[in-house]
């Protein structure tokens, strides 16, 4: 006998509980301060030599555990009602099982203290995530995206295994302890090779340009709770790996590592947001924004690597704080936005923004949460996105004074690109929120949309609260990052970042720059009486009435006359047309003269430049080569005997 409803409630309820426990554990560990020794232990006694299943909760691991657990908890609560849509149609219990498995292996990956355990968790993460992405495998789009995700995750696992083999060669042991600063024992060439392999491997997982192509394919087709988990947590494991390896294992970085990471981050940020602007699929748009935000995080990490090279550990710690702060911020607001998008898709049954509209009246609570997420991701004060981008700007600015080399010009340049990214993100979220939630509904589905179910709203409210808290109390939060910076750079800087008993966030010193998001809110509250007083004194008698929107004297506006998502981003498409190269097909049908068309069909399509120039040629050549190789496998037993003989011969020659 099957009880899918019970299965879903049980699995997601348990996941929410374990998320809460994980959050408490992480907060306890981080709250103990940097001096407390990290928790360390064997998970399962292992009988096989070399392979130990040991875990450790140090500053870096605890920070990522906090992120995983926070999102795991909120998303699980959301899923309680969200999965009801699958009842009778799909097996919600399977979804719950894989969801729990994914949470477990992600947790294992960030607390693993041993190459083996890490790699096993890493591989299981890819497999469970693949199963979750392909949950709605009836659609061909989903299957395709799943396969692409599967291939890319295995390329990334391959790169990481090779990288760890290089490290193992130098250390001779699999525990993370023995790998600490193992870079010092390696030759420069091997060290660089390991760095490149890790950058590729973790870069694919994080979704940096140009390794990101799986991300905008896989995130939208997964169920929305899974998209939130993937975008909020899963891609962050790439950041975790890169931080762990670059700052703990590989030793002092040469100049080009930092420059590369900073450049990759900058390019990802700008291209991510530009492609996001071109989307009118709500979930794909959010997926592209993940690429953008990973780019911003990498800017912080790249700056930290550069400061390590220039010999400024305090500034390196500062940039690391900026990057890590953005990591958790992105988890909070992107998780929130995906949950909001999930609620919208749930009640309109479409991901196409051009068929939405008017939802702010029909789902006001969801609209409010989505708006908070949109303001946060656009890096607008006083929310959390602004705080971490402010820290990133400050880190980049201080980089200019940190050295005399010509390379310091990369700091302000990537700062300017960060400004472009932020402003484009704001444009994109005006579009995403405005077209989805405002104006008249553009379809019957949107007209009949209903507010999300209670547990979904609670899940979103939790992440909204996280966004607000992370935005208003930055100085409290950076104190939790002390164990992390102490572990990776040997510096604790939270005291230097806090002024006026924590109200004001400083950029290492009061003179270099200060900001206070809570102060801005207070300032706004102090100024709020002014418009209110104006109303009271002057306009109390004025009446307010509802009327039709100005329609130029025609009869009535229809939703067709509204601005569309595609129309909204048209100016940006025109300005950056060298990058987008939009393809347009227009077909006109007419009776007498082309000026009196009876029917016009218009189609516009943008293909990503990397898909066109990099991945398609690559795929074609791989197929071509494998066709050639297939000739070897002719099916004749004689030929196979010959191969065996030749191989044996070669091996003998080699052995001699």
């Amino acid at each position: 006998m099957r009880r899918p409803q019970l299965a879903a409630a049980l699995s997601f309820g348990a996941a929410a509980l374990s998320g809460l426990i994980g959050l408490l554990a992480a907060l306890l560990c981080l709250g103990n301060g940097p001096s407390a020794p990290p928790w360390h232990g064997e998970l399962i006694p292992s009988l096989i030599p070399y392979i130990r299943f040991s875990a450790r909760l140090d500053g870096l691991g605890a920070f990522f555990l906090m992120l995983v657990s926070l999102l795991g908890c909120a998303i699980s609560i959301y899923s309680l009602d969200y999965t009801k849509a699958y009842l009778g149609r799909k097996n919600a219990g399977v979804l719950g099982a894989f969801f729990n498995a994914l949470l477990l292996v992600t947790t294992l990956a960030v607390v693993a203290d041993n190459i083996w355990l890490f790699l096993i968790a890493w591989e299981l993460m890819a497999l469970t995530a693949y199963c979750l992405v392909s949950f709605e495998h009836e659609q061909p789009e989903t299957r395709q995206a799943g396969v692409l995700f599967f291939i890319m995750s295995h390329i990334d696992a391959g790169c990481i295994i090779l990288g760890f083999l290089l490290l193992f060669q130098a250390s001779g042991d699999f525990s993370f302890d023995s790998l600490r600063d193992v870079g010092a024992k390696m030759s420069a060439g091997k060290r660089d090779a390991a760095f490149v392999l890790f950058l590729l491997g973790f870069g694919i997982k994080a979704g940096v340009v140009p390794l990101h192509i799986w991300l905008p394919a896989a995130h939208p087709v997964a169920p929305s709770n899974v998209s939130a988990l993937m975008s909020g947590v899963l891609i962050k494991t790439g950041i975790y790996g890169l931080t762990r390896v670059c700052f703990e294992f590989l030793g002092p970085p040469p100049l080009w590592w930092g420059v590369t990471v900073l450049a990759v981050g900058t390019v990802s940020a700008v291209l991510g947001v530009l492609y996001a602007l071109m989307e009118h699929d709500l979930k794909r748009l959010l997926a592209y924004h993940s690429i953008e935000n990973i780019g911003i995080i990498l800017m912080g990490l790249g700056a930290a690597l550069l400061f390590q090279f220039f010999g400024h550990p305090v500034l390196a710690a500062f940039s690391l704080v900026a990057g890590m702060y953005h990591t958790i911020n992105h988890a909070a607001f992107k998780g929130l936005l995906f949950l909001g998008a999930g609620a919208v898709v749930h009640s309109t049954h479409t991901r196409n923004m051009e068929e939405m509209g008017g939802l702010a009246k029909r789902m006001p609570e969801t609209a409010f949460y989505f708006l908070i997420g949109a303001v946060a991701i656009s890096a607008l004060p006083p929310l959390n996105g602004f705080v971490s981008e402010w820290l990133t700007y400050q880190a980049l600015l201080q980089g200019f004074g940190a050295s005399d080399s010509l390379w310091r010009l990369v700091f302000p340049l990537s700062g300017a690109m960060l400004a472009l990214t932020g402003a484009l993100a704001a444009a994109c979220f005006v579009k995403a929120f405005g077209i989805t939630f405002l104006a008249q509904p553009r379809s019957d589905a949107a007209r009949n949309a209903r507010e999300a179910a209670p547990s979904m709203r609670i899940g979103m409210a939790l992440l909204t609260a996280a966004c607000l808290l992370l935005g208003f109390f930055p100085t409290t939060f950076v104190r939790l990052l002390d164990p992390l910076t102490q572990q990776l750079t040997g510096q604790q800087i939270s005291a230097q970042l806090s002024l006026n008993s924590g109200l004001v966030l400083a950029s290492l010193s009061e003179k270099a720059g200060t900001v206070s998001t809570l102060g801005m809110v207070l300032m706004g509250l102090c100024l709020l009486p002014i418009p209110f007083a104006l109303w009271l004194v002057l306009a109390r008698k004025a009446k307010t009435r509802r009327g039709p929107t100005w329609d130029c004297g025609q009869r009535g506006l229809t939703p067709q006359m509204e601005y569309t998502a595609t129309g909204f981003s048209k100016p940006i498409r025109m300005i950056f047309k060298a990058l987008f190269r939009p393809r347009r097909d227009t077909q006109r049908e007419y009776d007498f003269s082309p000026y009196f068309a009876t029917n016009i069909r218009f189609e516009s399509h943008i293909e990503e430049v990397f898909v066109k120039r990099l991945y398609r040629p690559l795929r074609i050549s791989i197929v071509r080569v494998s066709r050639k190789i297939r000739a070897l496998q002719a099916g004749s037993i004689h030929a196979y005997l010959l191969y065996i003989f030749i191989t044996l011969l070669l091996l003998l020659i080699f052995a001699l």
């Binding site: 472009l420 900001v515 709020l528 307010t544």
Partner: protein, 314 residues
Amino acid sequence: MSLDPTSFIAQTVLLLLLSPLLSGFIKKAKARLQNRRGPPLWQTYFDLLKFLRKDMVISEHASWVFPLAPHLMFLTSLAAGLLVPMVTAQAPMGLFGGALALVGLLALGRFFLALGGLDPASAFGGMGSSREMTLSAIAEPAMMLAIFTLAISAGSTNLGQIVLASQQPGWKFLDPSHALAFIAMFIVLLAETGRLPVDNPATHLELTMIHEAMLLEYSGRYLALIEWGASIKQMVLMTLLANIFFPVGLAAKTSAATFGLGLLYLTAKLILLGGVVVVVETTNAKMRLFRVPDLLSVAFILAMLALVSTFLFR
């Protein structure tokens, strides 16, 4: 740096009262330069008073986002104004944020105004929102680079610190990097305040509107708040430009005498800068929308050169 309630109130009052006058002055001066008589200097005040008293008609399609926009536009402009040193070298709320917070606050107001433009389901509003967000996105990197140039030479992003640093004896009037950054910022100012080569503040012609198109559905008190907010924003940006590039007359300490003197200097600087804006507006025609990015990339390149020249002439 400290927080000072008296200067908080004083600067708020200054911003509220002087900004319509600045708008009126620019309008009047422009008219005189074009051989028109123009509206009286006080016309902006009369307009605001009239709007405030009028009844409001709100679109039946509008949601709860619609009333948020005017209030946030007004409040963020005022709050941004409190981060700028106006009559003394100290900004009243300078501790709560510097140049980056100022840019952020103005962006917050713009974000909600653009949403307010989309909300009533009119195509004009959507068009205005789309253009406004696009142009501000293109203007942002130039503005940031110009700010970076100043922040790097002053070693701080807080505007009060930048003013104090540029009052040091070593500061040369219009050295290459500051001059280039000033021109870049001036171009950004024209774009951000919707001035002529970019946007025409006096037009209601559908196809050329940018800022005005977003406001079409606002009336009465909400319109007054937006118009007032826009003129405060204009004053804030012009004060910013005047005071960080020409920091004369800004005393490090606040007293009645320095306040009066600072106010005089501020008025003179705003009249001068307003005059330049008027001349630019009168001698230039409005650009096609898709030529504006060219202008803004000129600003970006100038700001880049400004940055490189801090590097070279040190």
